[in-house]
Amino acid sequence: MTMTQAEITSVLQELLHKIAPEVDLARVEPGESLREALDIDSFDFVNFLGGIHDKLGVDVPETDYGKVRTLSQLVNYLSARIK
């Protein structure tokens, strides 16, 4: 499976919308911390990663949490791992 960055972003936005439906995702800057911008806690974040695993087949290990803080970081991280 190959996906463009736009397609990955779309999947991520769909998942984030379920967690924070009241947030206008278009206003979230690519370099902004997702947890701060969306006011999501660690439980929501783990659920979000679970959704990524289901939809994109990528497991983000705990040791990599620091590498996926922003939308752009996450998209780049997933692009490199989706096969």
Binding site: D41, F43, V46, G50, D59
Partner: protein
């Protein structure tokens, strides 16, 4: 209408799950009630048969109002056989808790039904050393929201009432300790390596279990202060403060945390957060908490000084785990450090006991493999 927390004054019956003649067992859900905070499945406290339903869906009723009459298994429906004592579910629950014989009471509720306040008065009167009991005020209907204050939701009003009562009635004392989390986090990392992303255990679940284990060593912080009486509870049901995206918070309890594995606690946390945010809680989850844990570490808060949720006597606050210079074995190193605070009721315990609890908590987290 059961009291589903100190901050509840009234509830709206939304649905009956039973009908007259149905057999019910302790723990069965018999109705759903909408409160200011959630839709709640109301459970029954004892086995029996539904004799009659005294309210209809849509009724908004003050706490203590009769919802239904349940008669014991084998008892004939009134009025044929020995008449069963008419009492609200909350009154029966309190009677068991306080050791009051319902058959000796006269009820002040509609049609003479015994209400929780009747039981509390009887329990207070039975104690020889206390001053003359002051009858509690009858439950009042929830006040109408004042005009022009859209921010003052029903939930905000309920939280305001509960926290004001807590600050008014409970002489809080606070203690703080800093815990080196290196060993605990390393252990958790190893445990999570074997788990899928969805099953990963969050530090919050490990901390809940650690609190429960520490409470088995210092049980005095696990209990209620009711009617000037202090009751230590054997079972450890930890109320977990959960914030809602729409504002406000709910404190449902996870039952018997000390008896669960850390993985099971995580599963319970996951289930409880999901149902809380969907507004699907059980009455026992809102009423059974024996202590509260609030964790604001996700929001970057370093130290939490909480307000106790009555009638509980303690609240544990956790802040963010941050890398800090930490001295151990006369060596300074950078370690992940957690600020743990205890807010406790000085009527129930003293600082000495509180300090013992925090020391126990620290000790438990230094040996996470024993959790």
């Amino acid at each position: 209408m059961p009291s589903l927390g100190v901050d509840m004054q009234a509830g709206t019956l939304t649905d009956w799950k039973v009908k007259p003649g149905d057999h019910v067992r302790r723990g069965d859900v018999i109705a759903t009630v909408e409160t200011d905070k959630a839709n709640v499945d109301v459970e029954i406290y004892e086995n029996g048969v539904v004799d009659r339903l005294a309210a209809k869906p849509g009724d908004k009723l003050p706490v203590g109002t009769l919802l239904a009459v349940i008669r014991g298994e084998g008892e004939a429906a009134a009025p044929a056989a020995p008449k069963r004592v008419a009492a609200s579910p909350l009154a029966r629950y309190k009677a068991r808790e306080l050791g009051v014989d319902l058959t000796t009471l006269s009820g002040t509720g509609p049609h003479g039904v015994i209400e929780a306040a009747d039981v509390e008065r009887a329990a207070q009167a039975a104690r020889p050393t206390v001053a003359a009991p002051v009858p509690p005020a009858p439950p009042a209907p929830a006040p109408a929201p004042p005009a022009g204050t859209p921010a003052m939701t029903g939930m905000r009003r309920a939280i305001a009432a509960a926290m004001a009562r807590s600050n008014r009635e409970i002489p809080h004392y606070y203690l703080e300790t800093r815990i080196d989390m290196h060993t605990a986090l390393h252990w958790l990392e190893q445990v999570n390596l074997e788990r899928s992303v969805k099953d990963r255990i969050l530090p919050a679940a490990m901390l809940l279990k650690a609190v429960a284990v520490a409470l088995t060593q210092v049980p005095e912080l696990n209990g209620y202060w009711v009617n000037d009486d202090y009751q230590i509870k054997e079972q450890i049901h930890i109320g977990m403060a959960i914030s809602l995206r729409s504002g406000g918070l709910v404190i449902p309890a996870i039952h018997d945390v000390d008896e669960k594995s850390v993985g099971d606690v995580m599963e319970a946390v996951r289930d409880l957060i999901t149902r809380t945010r969907e507004g699907r809680l059980k009455s026992s989850e809102l009423t059974d908490g024996t202590i509260t844990v609030t964790n604001l570490g996700d929001l970057g808060v370093e130290t939490v000084f909480g307000v106790i949720y009555p009638p509980q006597v303690a609240l544990i606050g956790f802040g963010r785990i941050t890398p800090q210079a930490h001295v151990a074995d006369e060596m300074i190193g950078i370690r992940p450090v957690l600020s743990a605070t205890l807010a406790a009721d000085h009527r129930a315990t003293d600082g000495h006991r509180g300090a013992q609890f925090l020391t126990a908590l620290n000790g438990v987290l230094q040996e996470p493999d024993k959790l």
